[in-house]
């Protein structure tokens, strides 16, 4: 099977890698550092292939889904304030369980499962 075109893989010195590791707060043994160097050279090559010089006005690919204005500004239905002492005597309201959760089957006992060999 023909190999895909190879990507240039940048080099990284041991000193540079130690700096990056220190900044990331990682403590690795030599074998793990070797694995990371292998992977990082590939990732660095991928990063280098992505254009960074874009117009400042370009939008970021991040979407914030805020509620529509009508919902955001609608007055909330709040219970009337009551004296603190009275409020403390009352038990907190129970969280309403959605109907779909009620329909969920109960967890089976662990002994009903067996590990596949």
């Amino acid at each position: 099977m023909p190999a895909p075109p190879t990507m240039p893989v940048p080099a990284i010195s041991p000193g540079e890698m130690q700096l990056l590791l220190a900044r990331a707060g990682l403590v690795l043994n030599p074998g793990q550092v070797a694995d990371l160097v292998l992977a990082w050279r590939q990732v660095a090559g991928l990063i280098a292939s992505i254009p960074h010089d874009r117009p400042l006005a370009d939008d970021m690919a991040v979407a914030f889904r805020l509620p529509p204005p009508a919902l955001a500004t609608a007055p909330r239905a709040r219970p009337a304030a009551r004296p603190a002492a009275k409020a403390q005597r009352k038990a907190p309201p129970k969280a309403k369980v959605p109907a779909k959760r009620k329909a969920r089957p109960k967890p089976a006992p662990r002994k009903s499962t067996r590990r596949a060999r």
Binding site: M1, Q32, L36, L46, I47, S49, H52
Partner: protein, 464 residues
Amino acid sequence: MTAPVPPFLTIAEAGRLIAAKRLSPVDLVKHMLARIEVRNPELGAYLLVTERQALAAARAAERAVMAGKRGPLLGIPLAYKDIYETAGVATTAQSRILADNVPKQDAETVRRLHAEGAVMLGKLATHEFAIGGPAFDLPWPPARNPWDPRRFTGGSSSGSGAAVAAGLALGALGSDTGGSIRLPAAYCGIAGLKPTPGLVSRRGVIPLAPSLDTAGPMAWTAQDCAILLDALAGHDPADPASVPGPQVSYAAAIAAPLRGLRVGLLRRFYEHDVPASPEMLQTMGRAAATLRSLGCRVEDATLPPVQEYNAVGRVIISAEAYALHEATIKTRLSDYSRVFRVRVLAGALVRAADYIAAQRRRTDLIAATAKAFERFDVLLAAPTQGTPPLLTEQRPDDGFSRPLLTTVANVAAVPSMVVCGGFSNAGLPLGVEIIGPAWGDATVLRVGHHFEQAAGTRERRPDA
């Protein structure tokens, strides 16, 4: 309900037999459990078999059938990649990190399937946290390909691919961040759909890279994927990425003929960007001819190079996966497999500026891909370079050093499915990928369904 269970059934066939009271859900589940008992020790598709619960659910389904209830998934035995949370049943992500994790509730997708009467057979192998690659330094062995157990299943939904192909489940759930549903579908000779992002809830699915993660169905046929998608699709207000998608029956929509459909052939992808083997090239040529014979207009289409999609996808996955795992990596690094460490640790070194550059470049690629759908209804591509490689040929840094053809659809945020396109001379499956525009899931499934019917690739099964 005493008829013998046929050795292999699709979801559609089993659903019809159960509805006609010619097949007992209990007998079907017993049949599947017996097959698992025989085949799983070699294939490693299942991490956990929930035998007692499966039989109880099958008995409940049988009672429902006898009481007159009907449904395409009633009594259908399924299994889930072990990143789907299941109430009271261990969900490990095939990692020591979650070895003792027993969720309190089902993933939304699992809940929807069970509400339709589906029966859970167990939890399926995955690459560790859906990224690791086949690892031999974990407590569970990697899944093996039913067509040749020396070979790779593809991943990360490795157990899902193996279980469906070997007839150890009629359908499965997988997840797809860079190809994890479609690669095992290609290598195991089954059908797998990566839906449009937002169509299927991801609540209760252990994430890998939330910008790119999708949950989806895997089954023997595109029709079965459509049946599963009918149950899975739908807005989930508790998943912030969930979107109210089109109100369609996918199982019904696939019946419409393909005549007049415009198909774009992404020839440069598999002839130049990631060159395919001669057998895969022949498979793509035959696939194009098959679609022409169905009345489609097939012409060459062009998108930006695969390497551009792959670079964006890999940088985003590295950064997001590391961010999700950072706290555990700093305290339990040696508990992860080496493959996971190689593929995720580099994310620690990705600068915010680089991650944002990748996200911004993604918007360009989404726009470029969407533009192609002004000319075409679907795009046709090769999901892999060829047949499944040997497990021993897999390298820890494969995710970076070899571009994945399937990552295009993840980065472009469009639906994509793989169906079996044919077989090599050695009898190994070769997949074909069908990519649609955003929310074009029904069209993708429809093309997959008609292609399978015309190509006749669904009669052949791995050795029983």
